[in-house]
Amino acid sequence: MSAPDEPREPTPPDEDEPVESAAPEEDDETEAAKPAPPAPAAPRPGFFAERPEVAVEVPRRRLAAQSRRDFILFAAGVIASGLGAWWLLPDRRKARLVGTAAHDRLDTLAGRVGLSRANREKALNGALTFDDDVAEALYSKDRRVRTYATSQRTPLKNNYHGRTPGPEILPGWTLNLTGLASGRDERLTLDDLRRFPHHEQTTRLVCVEGWSAIAWWGGVRFADLLAAFPPAPGARWAALRSAVSLDGAGRVEPYYVSIDLNTARHPQALLATHQDGAPLSLAHGAPMRLLVPMKLGLKNIKALTDIAYAADEPADYWNERGYSKYDGL
């Protein structure tokens, strides 16, 4: 929309100079008797310059050409946003807007010009990945999560979408480590893990849904476990898994999240065994859960049973259901 590329009337060069010396209209009546000051050679205003609201004479042909161009651009914008909105809207919403039959016909047409569902997912995943990259760029291992006094705690609900496992998971529980530098797999009991220093922190747990709660946690640092059982060289990720998670009907449905080792090594990343000074309840992930307050709540996996270190990013339960993979706060 800049001036240089527009076709110009074949006019003498000096006519391109906007004559800013034209007295503002208000002055015309009061100063009509005075001679107009000679037009100084005003410099041509830059692209950004706000032009004074003073009437100017413009060749009709040029005005018409410029207006036509602007309206064509405007119409192109309207069509593009209409197509874009149609492309990006969820199917359910589209069907509600125009009815199922018209929706199917329009979708077929949109698909012909490349606005397919597959491309939509690609574009939306692109936005998500971009946002994840921004989050990762913002992340600093040295930045502490804000902590609170234990008196500032707020009620923490159990928001897990499945059922809570029963106490039968506790007696034989072990934490299984794979992908270690030693090449061996480890099975650690709670007593093994209690040998690490115990840390406490009161932090805010933020859910992707928008609610949050301040809770008091205790446990061992993930960093201490990583130092004692180092991952294989080249590992950048930890795949954390709960093999005892249940779905809404009470069937076993493993839950799994990916955590980058940068986050795992953060001093406030805990393998929590305690809440409010007491061992974790089953509803909040007994006997051990991950507590990463620099990540959304859905990364804070409950009833953790397995940790596998890997070079490539492992699968993530909610990422497979359309949510972010990084989830950095």
Binding site: A22, E53, V58, G84, A123, L138, R321
Partner: protein, 278 residues
């Protein structure tokens, strides 16, 4: 950009004011109105804001902020559901009337994952658009037209009196002249156009405070705490959304010239006297 002028508006000092409409001549007299960047960002903002509000409502659905104790009479525990029940007959809502706001103005309930992804995509577009607008405003000096000035209090009352009287006086067929405005915008417009960039900046800042409360902890603290940032974000949404309705009504009522000037940048309303000095 703007139509480049050919000659001064009044070449001879003693010439009588020329009529604004001279259809048969080779030149036209027009007034430059809106910079190309203002027009571009204005029209990009419109679908972007509507999309942000629609996706934002579907995110809000997952965990409403404005709640009350469960009311057995209405079966709701949040204000958005109460509004939904009230508007359900108007929007002919299908399904649960309590979800009418989310269905009609948002993407609908249970759409959190898709709403979040769309919200991020549109939010980045909104931020880029806002930065382009602010660069143009700062570099071109357009911000001066938006600054409040001392005469605004008096002018605000004059404008409000004028707007209140427009319809009754038209019905009574009595003349109802527009107050004399000597600047680009009247006080009400100035207040609105001054508030919008601020609400836009606040909505972006509070959005980041919620989105990255740990890495941008200073921003979360700026809003007090996490939940306050959510309240500010939603309040700004109401302010921005509430601006659109009267803005569209007033711009349309002002006529084709006003609408066209936001596309082409020029107005054919050449006043031999200052704005609306009637």
């Amino acid at each position: 950009m703007y139509p480049a002028p050919m000659e001064p508006a009044s070449p001879t000092p003693n010439a009588p004011p020329r009529p604004a409409v001279r259809e048969n001549e080779a030149t036209a007299r027009v007034v430059p109105k809106h910079h190309a960047l203002v027009r571009l960002t204005h029209w990009v903002n419109f679908p972007t804001l509507l999309g942000l509000i629609a996706t934002g409502l579907s995110i809000y659905w997952a965990s409403p902020v404005f709640k009350h104790a469960f009311d057995p009479a209405t079966g709701t525990r949040e204000w958005m559901q109460d509004i939904g029940r009230a508007i359900a007959p108007l929007v002919r809502a299908q399904g649960d009337p309590r979800d009418a706001v989310y269905e009609f103005f948002g993407l609908g309930p249970r759409q959190l994952a898709v709403a979040l992804r769309l919200h991020w995509a549109l939010a980045y577009l909104f931020m880029v658009n806002g930065v382009v607008y602010l660069i143009g405003l700062a570099a071109g000096g357009g911000w001066r037209a938006l600054l409040p000035r001392p005469s605004d209090v008096r002018e605000t009352f004059a404008m409000m009196r004028f707007y209140l009287g427009v319809i009754p006086m038209a019905l009574l067929r009595r003349p109802w002249p527009h107050p004399t405005i000597t600047s680009k915008y009247n006080a009400l417009q100035r207040a609105a156009y001054f508030t919008m960039p601020i609400a836009g900046a606040l909505v972006i800042l509070s959005g980041w405070a919620m989105h990255k409360p740990v890495q941008l902890g200073w921003l979360e603290r700026l809003f007090g705490n996490y939940d306050n940032a959510r309240i500010v974000h939603l309040t700004c949404m109401v302010v921005l959304g509430g601006f659109i309705v009267p803005h569209v009504i007033l711009a349309t009522a002002d006529g084709w010239d006003t609408l066209r000037s936001m596309v082409t940048g020029w107005s054919a309303r050449v006043k031999e006297e200052p704005h609306e000095r009637a």
